[in-house]
Each structure stands twice: as structure tokens, then as C-alpha cells.
């Protein structure tokens, strides 16, 4: 009979790769360290002033690494060690979440297919430069189309191992 326990345990053996992996038409790698902020405010102008940056006005838009995720929510993926002012006392929330997520990058003509293996959005119709929170199968991600064939995927740290290996499973030529 099939040993269920044995199957369940094998998840513990998954490893988060450190080096880029090249598959047929697609390369998976780490985006590297970033500063990340969750930015919230009812009034975008107040927040923009606090952080000294342009905040895209429409959900799904992105400007210089700042993504509009919701009507009062922006997610900033910035150069490492960027520090944003907290705007204490003002009706804003600036929270450093640099360590919360890891950024994975899928690039190449087959990157779209790898991402589509588990993401239900019509990604082919997603404009270059746009970004959104969504899911890859059961795991929440933020997808940012950095270029025609380059996708930056943010995932919470503890889900990264699973996601890395799920990408590998969908990458032709990258798994046995």
C-alpha cells in the first residue's frame, strides 16, 4: 500500500535554490535583497509627501517600484537599505517589511507559461510595468511584469521554498 506519511514528509526535504536555474526558454533566479515597505493612507497625497515618492493612482499601476495594490495600499520594492520616513502622528502607515518576502525572477520567452502553470490571471494581457497581488495555486504572491519577458514575483519568505520548487516543476528541462 501507499505510505501516506512518507509522501507528506517529503515536503520537508524541499530546498530553496540559491543559484539561478536555466530551463528551456526560462530562467529562475533570486531578485536579491530589497527594501520593502507596506504603505497605507486614506489620502495618497499625504502619504506621497511623507515618503517623498510618486504613488501610482490606480490599482495595478506601478511607478519606480511602488505598486498600487489597493485603494489605500501601496507596496514599495526599493533598492536595498532605502529607509522611508514613518510619518509619525500623520494619518498614514509606513511599515518596513523588507524581510517578510523574497523576490524571485522568471525571465525568458517561456516565463509566462511557467507563471501561468499556477496563476489564474490572464497574464499575457497584463501590461508591461503593471503589478498585482494574486495567487500561485494556494500561495499569495505579488506579480510585477518588469519587462515583456521578465516577471518579478514577491512571496512571503516561508512560502518561497515551495514556490521555487513549484516553478521548477513547471519549467521544461529543469527537473528530472
Amino acid at each position: 500500500m501507499v505510505e501516506i506519511a512518507e509522501i507528506a514528509v517529503s515536503a520537508a526535504e524541499l530546498k530553496l535554490g540559491t543559484e539561478p536555474v536555466q530551463g528551456a526558454g526560462v530562467r529562475l533566479s533570486h531578485a536579491g535583497p530589497r527594501s520593502r515597505y507596506s504603505l497605507r493612507a486614506r489620502d495618497a497625497k499625504v502619504l506621497a509627501e511623507v515618503v517623498g515618492r510618486t504613488l501610482p493612482g490606480k490599482i495595478g499601476d506601478q511607478a519606480e517600484g511602488v505598486i498600487c495594490l489597493g485603494p489605500d495600499e501601496w507596496y514599495a520594492i526599493l533598492a536595498e537599505d532605502t529607509v522611508l520616513p514613518r510619518g509619525e502622528g500623520l494619518p498614514v502607515s509606513v511599515t518596513d517589511v523588507s524581510s517578510r518576502a523574497l523576490g524571485l525572477v522568471l525571465e525568458g520567452p517561456a516565463a509566462l507559461a511557467v507563471l501561468s502553470s499556477g496563476c489564474p490571471l490572464d497574464l499575457a494581457n497584463m501590461g508591461v510595468g503593471r503589478a498585482t497581488r494574486t495567487v500561485f495555486e494556494t500561495v499569495e504572491i505579488v506579480v510585477w511584469r518588469e519587462a515583456e519577458d521578465r516577471w518579478h514575483v514577491e512571496v512571503w519568505r516561508s512560502f518561497a521554498t515551495w514556490l521555487w520548487n513549484a516553478f521548477l516543476a513547471a519549467m521544461p528541462g529543469a527537473h528530472g
Partner: protein, 954 residues
């Protein structure tokens, strides 16, 4: 003709032979053959045994409708697939197929004795017979039924194959690549949108594959489709189901048509397709006719015989009789004749048949019997001849033949249309239901839409017979062995709805879902009930269209990728130390750290003693964390939690108790105020997402005027708990910029500074009752800081401890674990946490419920401590508690044990329990009946160690 292979014709490659085995016997066919066509070419008529009576059965159809010829294909260990339809199995070298449902062999089947006694196995037999005596069920009936039940055998070893899955999007999805589907795809593709064309067969073409005249067109259309960038053509792909808003799930078979050596990569791929428009071009399935002997091997659909001859170059017999009630039977007979198959006679119930058909038959020297019906078939394992009679009741006359073709008219394949909740209307000319209305952007083209001119016919497959219906042994559902008389019996026994008749007789409930039996069953019921079919209705089609492997449905979600396993950044360190783990929500957490040959009890006892006497280090990273920021942060928390938050000063922590609006505890945690407008909340590990969602809900929908925002920071921080009298000494050398003295940094406070050169939020909190700190550092530094603390701890005899020790230590102090000591029906007062409820607060979530009559009523279960009379007896968590152990069974249970451990610190067992009126029972002895003994225990306060809390200060 060699064997039954026609001299020429078909789409097979006669230069490429394929060797395979069937029931262990070496066989061969050609590339392009199906398993069915290759075996028919060798003269094999017997393919399987029926489900209930184990009657010998042959091929009925040439496609997915095949109910009889189910085979098991063996592709090596773990790669055994039962219940494949022989006509849909592509032939390849090394194919190993076996017949099913026979014991011991296909030709000699002992269980076929069921057939002899079939008169005693009518519809509902099992329900009626195995009712009594009750005692016989387990020992006699069930084993026998289990021996007989089931089709094929499930694989017993792990499936080693990979399965792929993807989402796909297109403007137009066409299901079915016959002429109508191909035309629809070409038309849609010309518009420039993305088009996906799928078809379940080995190659696209559908019905055109059985019509050589259409082959040149087919080749041209295929090339055109292949050349278009916006078109994806997926043969060997079955649309399993249509779901809301044109979401169609399809499974592509990638390797089953290849020999085991050639097969590379994933075996199947699941396509989850979202389409703007769906075009169903699924064709129609020919209906069998219902007459005595219609299941003898060699009786099959006329369309099947045509496909075997024209697509595969195989004659299904040397002398064929066609039994038709529809023009298509005549046309197929003429096509077969032209292909070199010998048609002895065409029998048709109808007198008025188009003259061109009759002339065609005469020209081919085929005898025509109009107004006649087949009333019997001679032969057991193969057809030897038929008896026909005028109007089915006249004097019988025999015709020798070795195959009988049935042409009962056509049933449009409306399965996916029905999945989409499209309505159907009865079409008298078709004698079938055809698509009517839908609210989806969905349309049917070709035969499945009722648009196909193939002539006229009678509707209703039951042929007139000399015997009355209740004696009729004519089969309606071949796979489930349902006879015409079973349907009559069901009606006679009072069943009126077709859904009930279906379940009572099992008509249409086999793996083929009644593709060939539903309409015949319906028509027979209609006749017996003297009501039109439209008043009886049709049973519901549900996915999957054809049986589907679990592998493709799982896709990548198997084994290691079954679901994410979350690990903290310190997990690898714990693994290297030999930690034993337990799973908490999706996280795995170190449960204990055994040394040498220690078992859990020994390891936990050592860890507990060391924490109480020296110091222990614990990975608390999985705790949920939420950053609450904004001018109204304190106001918001004040409304959410039971206790007051506005007065909490920056730098201080507070235990927060969260209720649902129903007044029951749903989460708890210690939270800190970092600044007037910034809080760092903690939640239970399992409650993190739930609590955040609940808080968002209140914030967005009830108190949207508040200027406060929530951010999950669970994964931002690694959390290292350092607990024990030497905790301060361990972290002291590592911390910068924080005065750790008890005066400057009292219990329940928080400071921001540095540890090991890294930013930290340092909490002075204790879930153990000892002096304790929780070191929060950004996750990527967690491992390094842990190792530095660990190295420092070694100077003070530190242990690493896991969740089990954490549980024991907190239980010694009577701290609850939400979800273990509470179960969703426990109020703060029940849990002894009345002190955490702000009495002066006008409102908070759940407050009103705390005044509900049931909640203020006496006798509620309250959390208490239990000390067993035998100090070494450790109660079982979940065990029921009674007041009087000598009362008769069933006893009155007054509560249950929620937490129970051996406490190394106390040298005895301790337990917590929810007991009715528990706090009024202090000092009482209660009893815990177990299977082998009854354990007695005294009720005490749930506080077993250092009640005055002096140890918190080290």
C-alpha cells in the same frame, strides 16, 4: 482480406507493425490502430465480462461511448490504469492490456453463474436481499459483494508519473475537432483572437476520420490551423467539464500513446481554460437498439463498424446484418459495402424509407426487410445469426451472420452544455434532447447542436418483441447490466421520477454515465408510464465527461509539492540538532530536541528542568504578528480586544484577549505599544491569518472612519525566546542601547535597540513563568542572532527547547492555549480570564454577548486544574470527566481534560480541564473513566507553580 483486416483503406500505417499483448497473448496491429481495431482485425470478438451478470461482451462503439470493452493497461509498477475503453486506447509497441471483470479467464468465467440466475437478480436486488439477518452482513454479504463489486482493480503502489497543469486563456475555445469544430476554429482564428481547439481523439477530424472523402479537406484544414500563431490545437485532450463563466477543465494525455521507452516528461496535463466564447462541437453518439440478444459479442453500433472499416481498415465480421430504425444505418451499410464489407441484410422497422437508400441497397445486392425487427440473436460468445419477424411479432425467420449493426438514431453530446446549466428541448425528429438556451457565451455547432443532416428515423430504441416487457432480457445499459424489464419493474414498484428510476435500476450510473443508455431508458420509462418524455425529464450530466485520472487533477500538487510546508529561518539549525518536529497550521515547529537515546518524555523533562534552573532558547518565529499603525491605533485595539488599550504607554506590553461577537475566545497574544500610533501585535501561530482578516473586516466595514492600518509582519520578524533565571545574563553581552536592568526594563515591556549589531524589538515577556525575553530581529538575521544567543547560552548551560516543553511550562503556570484549552464555546470567565475584560469599557467586540442569558447562567464549564490521586498517572487529553464513577452507563459527563503533562519541575502529573461549575468544585474528587481503569483526580486552581509570580524577576 487477411483475418478481418480489409485489403486496403483506413488511416493506419500498414508498413509499421505494433506488437502488444492482450490477456498475456502476443498480438499485433499497425501504427494508427486502436487496441479495439487491432484485436478485431485478429478476429477477437470477446472483450470483457459485464458488471453484474458477468455476461460475455464485445465492442459496442468505436469511441468514448464504449461501455463493454473495458481494459486494464499495465505500463509498469504503479502505472496500471483500469477501465480504459479499448477503442480509445492507441496502439503502441509493448502495450500490455488485460480484460477485466472475469474470473478466472475471459472465456471461462465462474461468476457468470449470476447470469444463469439472473431472474433472481432484478433491479433493487441488493437493497432487498441483504437486509437480514443483520449478523450476516459483516461476515457473509459484505465479503461476497466486495468480491464481486467494482470494475477493474485500483493500483496498489505509488504512481511514479509526473502530471502537469496550467491555466490558459483564449477568446474562443472549441471543444471537438470534427468538421464543425474545425470550421468554427478557423472562423474564430481569422478574427485574430486566441483560439484553443481540443479533441479527445488521437488526431483531429472527428467523424471525418471515418469518411475518406473528407480526408483531403481535413489535411488542408489541419495545416492551416497549425500555421496560425493564435491557434493552439490539443489532440488527446478531453474536456472534463464546463464550469461557471466558460471555465473549461480539460486533460491532455501526453504519453499514454507512446511505448514506455518513448514516454518522457509528464504523463498528463490539466488545462484550466478561461474562454471568452466556448463552441461545443462534440458531435452525437449513435443509440443502440433494445432487443433480445443485443449484448451478444458482435452486436454493435453501425457507426462503430463504419469507423473500424474506413478509419482502421477492419471488418467487424464476414457477414453483417444491419438493424436500423434510422436512415444513417442504411448509409453506413452502403459505405461498408463500398469498403468491401459483406452486408447480408438491412432490417428496418420502418416501411417508408427513402427510395434512394432502398435503391442503393438493391444495387449492392443487400436484402432489405422493411417493417421487420430483430427478435433474437443466436450465439453465446459470438453472433451466429439473428431471428427477425414482421413488426417484431410475426413468424420468425433466421438469417446467418457473424455481426449485427444497430442504427437507433443519434443522441447529441450535450454533456458540457448541461454542465453549463444550458437548457435542453426535446426534438421529435432527433428523438433526443438538443441544446436550447444558456446564459453563458456558449453555443453548439454541428451534430451536438442538432444541426446535422443525416436523414430521418424513429425515436425510441425499444423494438417490438413477441415477449412482454416484464420478460424482456434486452439490455438498455450494457455496463451496469440493466435490462428493459428492470425499468418496467422500477415503474411498477412506484418510481416515477427518472432520477429515482436511474438510481433504483442503476441505469446510466456506470463509468460511461449512460452515454448509450440514458435515452433508451427514458423512452422505455415514458412508454410504461404513458407520459411523454418531456414530462419525465432527463437525468443531470455532471463532470467528468469521461473518467479522469486523479494525477492530472492534482497536477503538481503531489508528494513534496502537495502543500507548502512553512519553516522558520531557524528550522535548519533545529534540524541539524536532531529536533523532532510537529506541524502547527502549515508550519513545522521543533517539538523537542532529544539527546542520545532520550525519548520525548526524557527530553522534555530535561528541557523543562533546564529552563526553570538555568535558561532555554525557543524559536517563536511562527507567532502571528500584525503592525497596527495610525492615529486611531489605540482606539481600534480598544474596540477589538476585551481589555483597555488607550492607557497603555509606549514601551509597555499587554496581554490581549480577542473574542468573536458571540463572546467566545478566538485568539490571544501579547502586544506592545512602540509609539503613540504604532503597535506590534502578536497572535497564535494558527490564528494569524484569521485574526488579520477579522480585524480588516471591522476596520473596513464597521469603523471605516478610523485612521489606522494593519500590516502582517509575521514573516518580517524572527523571534527568539530566551527564558529562565539566567536569561538576562545570556543576552546582556549581545544587546546594545537597551538598559536591561529590571528597573529600566520591567516585565511586560518592549525596547528597540540592537542585538548582535542588528535592529531588534526586544520584549520582556514570559510564557514560562520565568524571567524571559523575546528577541525580534528581521528574519534574514534570525539564524545568526539565534546562533550568537546559543553560543552565549552555552556559558550558562542553556538548552534549546521545543513546543512540547513550551506547553508543559505554560501549563504549570496555568496559561491557556487557544484552541487547546478553548474550543470556540469558552468565554473569558469560563477560562478564568475575567480579569482581562475591561469592566468599564462601554463596548468591545463580543461584550454584548457576555451578558447573554446562557453565558451568565450558572453551571457553565470552567477551566480548572486537576491533580490525579496517583501523581504518576498522566491523564489523556480529551478524556471525559464524571462526578460519580459508579453511575450506570451512559454516564453523565461533566467535562473533559484539555491539557495534561508530566511535570518534571513538580515531579508529578498536572492537567487542565473544562468542568461544569468547575470553580465551585475546588477540592472535589472527580473521575476519569478509561477503557482499562478509572482515574481519580482532585480539582484545584489551574496554577501549579510559583503562584505569586516571583520567578518573573529572575
Amino acid at each position: 482480406m487477411s483475418g478481418f483486416r480489409l485489403a486496403d483503406g483506413g488511416r493506419i500505417d500498414r508498413r509499421t507493425k505494433r506488437n502488444f499483448t492482450f490477456d498475456g497473448k502476443a498480438q499485433w496491429g499497425y501504427a494508427g490502430d486502436s487496441l479495439a481495431s487491432a484485436l478485431l482485425a485478429q478476429g477477437q470478438m470477446l472483450f470483457g465480462r459485464s458488471f453484474k451478470y458477468h455476461r460475455p461482451r464485445g465492442i459496442l462503439g468505436a469511441g468514448v461511448e464504449e461501455p463493454n470493452a473495458l481494459v486494464t493497461v499495465d505500463r509498469g509498477p504503479g502505472r496500471i490504469t483500469p477501465n480504459l475503453r479499448a477503442p480509445s486506447v492507441a496502439l503502441h509497441d509493448g502495450l500490455t492490456a488485460t480484460s477485466q471483470n472475469r474470473f478466472p479467464t475471459l472465456k471461462t468465467d465462474l461468476i457468470a453463474v449470476n447470469n444463469v440466475f439472473s431472474a433472481f437478480f432484478p433491479a433493487g436486488f441488493y437493497n432487498k436481499t441483504f437486509m437480514w439477518p443483520r449478523a450476516a452482513w459483516e461476515k457473509v454479504y459484505e465479503p461476497i459483494i466486495r468480491r464481486l463489486a467494482g470494475l477493474g482493480d485500483s493500483p496498489t503502489t505509488r504512481d511514479p508519473d509526473h502530471y502537469d497543469a496550467t491555466y490558459a486563456h483564449c477568446e474562443t475555445l472549441v471543444v471537438g475537432a470534427g468538421p464543425a469544430g474545425i470550421a468554427a476554429a478557423l472562423e474564430a482564428a481569422a478574427g485574430g483572437g486566441r483560439v484553443i481547439l481540443i479533441d479527445e481523439q488521437e488526431e483531429i477530424g472527428g467523424g471525418a476520420l471515418s469518411d475518406p472523402a473528407q480526408w483531403p479537406w481535413l489535411e488542408e484544414a489541419s495545416a492551416k490551423l497549425a500555421a496560425m500563431d493564435n491557434v493552439t490545437v490539443l489532440p488527446r485532450t478531453t474536456a472534463i467539464g464546463h464550469y461557471h463563466q466558460n471555465f473549461v477543465v480539460a486533460a491532455e494525455r501526453l504519453t499514454d500513446h507512446l511505448s514506455v521507452d518513448e514516454a518522457e516528461g509528464a504523463r498528463e496535463k490539466l488545462w484550466r481554460i478561461r474562454a471568452g466564447e466556448v463552441v461545443l462541437a462534440m458531435g452525437a453518439i449513435e443509440r443502440p437498439l433494445v432487443f433480445e440478444g443485443n449484448d451478444v459479442p458482435g452486436v454493435m453500433l453501425a457507426s462503430a463498424a463504419k469507423t473500424f472499416a474506413l478509419r482502421y481498415g477492419v471488418a467487424v465480421g464476414r457477414k453483417l446484418v444491419v438493424m436500423a430504425v434510422h436512415d444513417s444505418g442504411w448509409r453506413d451499410a452502403l459505405a461498408l459495402h463500398k469498403a468491401g464489407v459483406n452486408i447480408a441484410a438491412i432490417v428496418d422497422m420502418r416501411r417508408d424509407v427513402a427510395s434512394e437508400l432502398i435503391e442503393g441497397a438493391r444495387a449492392a445486392r443487400i436484402a432489405c426487410y422493411q417493417g421487420y425487427a430483430v427478435t433474437g440473436v443466436s450465439g453465446g460468445q459470438a453472433v451466429k445469426g439473428v431471428t427477425i419477424a414482421l413488426a417484431g411479432v410475426g413468424k420468425g425467420q433466421k438469417i446467418d451472420c457473424d455481426a449485427v449493426l444497430m442504427a437507433g438514431g443519434w443522441t447529441p453530446t450535450v454533456h458540457l452544455w448541461s454542465h453549463a446549466k444550458g437548457s435542453l428541448r426535446w426534438d421529435e425528429a432527433w428523438g433526443a434532447f438538443v441544446p436550447d438556451k444558456t446564459h453563458e457565451d456558449l453555443r453548439c455547432v454541428g451534430a451536438c447542436g442538432g444541426a446535422w443532416d443525416y436523414g430521418k428515423g424513429l425515436s425510441g430504441g425499444l423494438l417490438p418483441a413477441p415477449k412482454p416487457l416484464h420478460d424482456s432480457k434486452a439490455f438498455v445499459d450494457f455496463q451496469n447490466d440493466v435490462k428493459a424489464r428492470d425499468i418496467g419493474l422500477a415503474v411498477q414498484e412506484g418510481f416515477r421520477s427518472i432520477e429515482h428510476i436511474k438510481r433504483y435500476t442503476t441505469n446510466g450510473m456506470a463509468t460511461d454515465q449512460g452515454k448509450t443508455s440514458n435515452l433508451n431508458g427514458l423512452q422505455i420509462a415514458s412508454g410504461v408510464l404513458h407520459r411523454p418524455v418531456t414530462e419525465i425529464g432527463l437525468t443531470t450530466f455532471r463532470p467528468p465527461y469521461t473518467p479522469q485520472s486523479f494525477g492530472a487533477i492534482l497536477g503538481h500538487h503531489k508528494e513534496a509539492l502537495f502543500q507548502p510546508l512553512r519553516k522558520s529561518v531557524i528550522d535548519d539549525w533545529a534540524a541539524a540538532q536532531g529536533a523532532v518536529y510537529e506541524n502547527v497550521a502549515q508550519w513545522r515547529r521543533a517539538r523537542y530536541f532529544p539527546q542520545g537515546s532520550e525519548d520525548m518524555d526524557a527530553a522534555v523533562a530535561r528541557e523543562c528542568r533546564t529552563v526553570r534552573s538555568a535558561v532555554g532558547v525557543f524559536d517563536a518565529s511562527t507567532l502571528g504578528k500584525i503592525e497596527v499603525v495610525g492615529p486611531d491605533a489605540a482606539e481600534f485595539l480598544n474596540r477589538m480586544y476585551t481589555n483597555p488599550w488607550k492607557s497603555l504607554e509606549p514601551g509597555r506590553c499587554r496581554y490581549g484577549l480577542l473574542l468573536g461577537e458571540h463572546g467566545f475566545i478566538i485568539d490571544d497574544g501579547v502586544s506592545a505599544r512602540l509609539a503613540p500610533d504604532r503597535f506590534h501585535l502578536t497572535t497564535t501561530t494558527g490564528g494569524a491569518a484569521r485574526v488579520l482578516n477579522m480585524m480588516e473586516d471591522y476596520l473596513q466595514t464597521e469603523w471605516s472612519d478610523l485612521d489606522v492600518w494593519l500590516t502582517s509582519t509575521t514573516e518580517q520578524w524572527a523571534v527568539i525566546a530566551v527564558q529562565g533565571p539566567k536569561a538576562r545574563r545570556v543576552i546582556e553581552p549581545l544587546v546594545e542601547g537597551i538598559d536591561l536592568s529590571p528597573e529600566a526594563f520591567p516585565h511586560m515591556s518592549v525596547r528597540e535597540g540592537k542585538i548582535c549589531g542588528v535592529d531588534t524589538r526586544l520584549f520582556r515577556v514570559s510564557f514560562t513563568g520565568e524571567l524571559g525575553f523575546e528577541v525580534n530581529v528581521p528574519a534574514e538575521h534570525g539564524r545568526a542572532v539565534w546562533e550568537a544567543i546559543w553560543a552565549e547560552g552555552q556559558k550558562h548551560g542553556a538548552v534549546a527547547y521545543g513546543t512540547e516543553t513550551m506547553h508543559v511550562l505554560r501549563a504549570e503556570k496555568g496559561f491557556i492555549i487557544v484552541g487547546q484549552d478553548t474550543d470556540g464555546t469558552v468565554t473569558p470567565d469560563d477560562a478564568g480570564l475575567g480579569w482581562a475584560v475591561g469592566k468599564k469599557k462601554p463596548d468591545f467586540v463580543g461584550k454584548r454577548s457576555l451578558a447573554r442569558p446562557d453565558i451568565v447562567a450558572p453551571g457553565r464549564k470552567q477551566l480548572v486544574g486537576l491533580l490525579t490521586d496517583d501523581p504518576q498517572a498522566v491523564l489523556e487529553e480529551g478524556a471525559q470527566i464524571v462526578a460519580d464513577p459508579n453511575q450506570p452507563v451512559p454516564m453523565t459527563m461533566i467535562g473533559h481534560v484539555t491539557s495534561s503533562y508530566h511535570s518534571a519541575t513538580l515531579g508529578r502529573s498536572i492537567a487542565m480541564a473544562l468542568v461544569a461549575g468547575g470553580r465551585d468544585r475546588m477540592g472535589e474528587t472527580l473521575h476519569i473513566p478509561m477503557p482499562d481503569r478509572t482515574i481519580s483526580a482532585k480539582v484545584v486552581a489551574p496554577m501549579f507553580y510559583d503562584a505569586e509570580g516571583s520567578r518573573l524577576n529572575g
